[in-house]
Amino acid sequence: MLTLLFDGVAYGMLLFILSIGLAVTLGLMNFINLAHGAFAMAGGYTTVLLMQHAGLPFLLCVPLAFVFTALLGAVMEATLYRRMYNKPHLDQVLFSIGLTFMAVAGVDYFVGSTQQLVQLPEFLKGRTELWDGALGMGHYRLAIIAVCVVLTLELQLLLVRTRFGSQLRAAVDNQRVAAGLGIDVNKVFLLTFAVGSGLAGLGGALGAEVLGLDPIFPFKFMIYFLIVVAVGGTSGLTGPLLAALLLGIADVAGEYYIPKLGAFIVYSLMIVILLWRPQGLFSRGGK
């Protein structure tokens, strides 16, 4: 029981890191980016390929995945995404689906369609049992939780305490007024998009072992990222965090107790929540 809860929390934290970039893109640019999963996949594959071909250790590959995906995000933002901000949602959805199709086929072409395995270092492989096995914690999952908690705190500090954070919040609240106050909104967008993509890449790298990594990753998890954002709302970190934890725990528990219904529970729960609070569970109210 506790083990399930633990696994659910680890899964939820991972989902949070994976989706927070999407929440920001949506809240800041009002852009529905269905290609977010492709960035996560890019991070995962960076790790796997670096480990397999360059022989780098896992712990070095994960930060590299962040850097690479953030750069990729920055380039994409400046060249492609920026042109799409003012288009209707339909165009944005089709544009990002198109990008995802390209990413999926591209990875399939260059790397192959098989599931990729990540060799974890020895010290992350063990498992600790507490209270006569009532709570079994995989060390890797423990590490995931630790990393994600640290990241969440950092993000919160970045948002609340720094100059960049206040500029970002100003731009989210009202883009035009923020620009009028002399904030370089384009630069804020670019940096935010890069960090968001980088976090997705980091999540993909960390999650490769837990979630599995193959070319259809972006489509498999797209709905999960979207659930986190739609249920959690886009105002602040707390909403998506709680939504991600809820989703992670519900999914793990559902898989365990009622495997026949599996994903069914998660989707139904999402629809009910969205019918009840269309703006998300933790939104600040009508906008």
């Binding site: 086929a105 629809i271 019918l275």
Partner: protein, 319 residues
Amino acid sequence: MNRSALSLSLAAKPRWWEFALWAFLLSLPLLLPTHALLISEITVIALFAMSLDLILGYSGILSLGHAAFFGMGAYSAALFAKHINPDPLLGLAVATSVTALLGAICSLGILRGSDLTRLMVTLGVALILQELANKLDFITGGADGLQGVVMGPVLGQFEFDLMGQTAAWYTLSTTLAVFLLLRQVVVSPFGFSLQAIRDNALRAQAIGIPVYARLIAAYTLAAALAGMAGGLQAQTTGFASLDVFGFDRSADVLLMLVIGGTGWLWGGIVGAVVFKSLHSIISAWTPQYWTFWLGLFLVLLMLVGRARLIRPWTWGRRA
């Protein structure tokens, strides 16, 4: 006749080329008898795209889960034919009504919230149905699909043949009937009120249009027609499998409609033909990776702008 009634009747009047085009389409199974199966396949997705146009193009509802209704129609038609009655028209009526009911229920979900919420709810419904069809394998055959569906003759006269002649006629005439119905719908006051809601829901409400009721009606109708398309597919292929609910199908139909043009009844038909042709050309060249080129096409199309696709001379200008 007052002026508004006159303008409505003018808009409803078919152009001469539409008669010609329909005559041409209806004669296709005779002209290309070896491609009859392909013709009925394209006709089915054209009907599916037309149903999406009613909610996307005319009412402005963004849906990523329209395949939910297609799949529901396919499974209802297949199950009805297998267990109750093999008559195609009766089966089609059943599939359409079942899906209309589902659409009416689901329409409550798309009334509130933003584009994102609608996107999630529509996508979620399709995924739930896919899960259900997968897990209820004692009814639906699960991942193997529902096999052994044998249809009776259409109108008691025309047996489905292996070459697909009957199937092509059957789907074409059904689609023509729907097309005529929809053209009446979109030029009716009802259709115009939908477009008013699409353009500005708040103002539409202010001039006395019952927004929710209209959206529910439009969504239900679109769902019913998508179900009809699904039913046609199951009946003509004698098979229903999980992929009828797939995300790919919802995305593809969205793409077709965008290629053909939204808010225009011919859009679905044009889009289906262009999409299928593109598909067969590219996948003959690179079968495994054709989605890459599809994606590239989508990205470029969106960067250039949908409206400018059919006007190449404007490509160089800035939007």
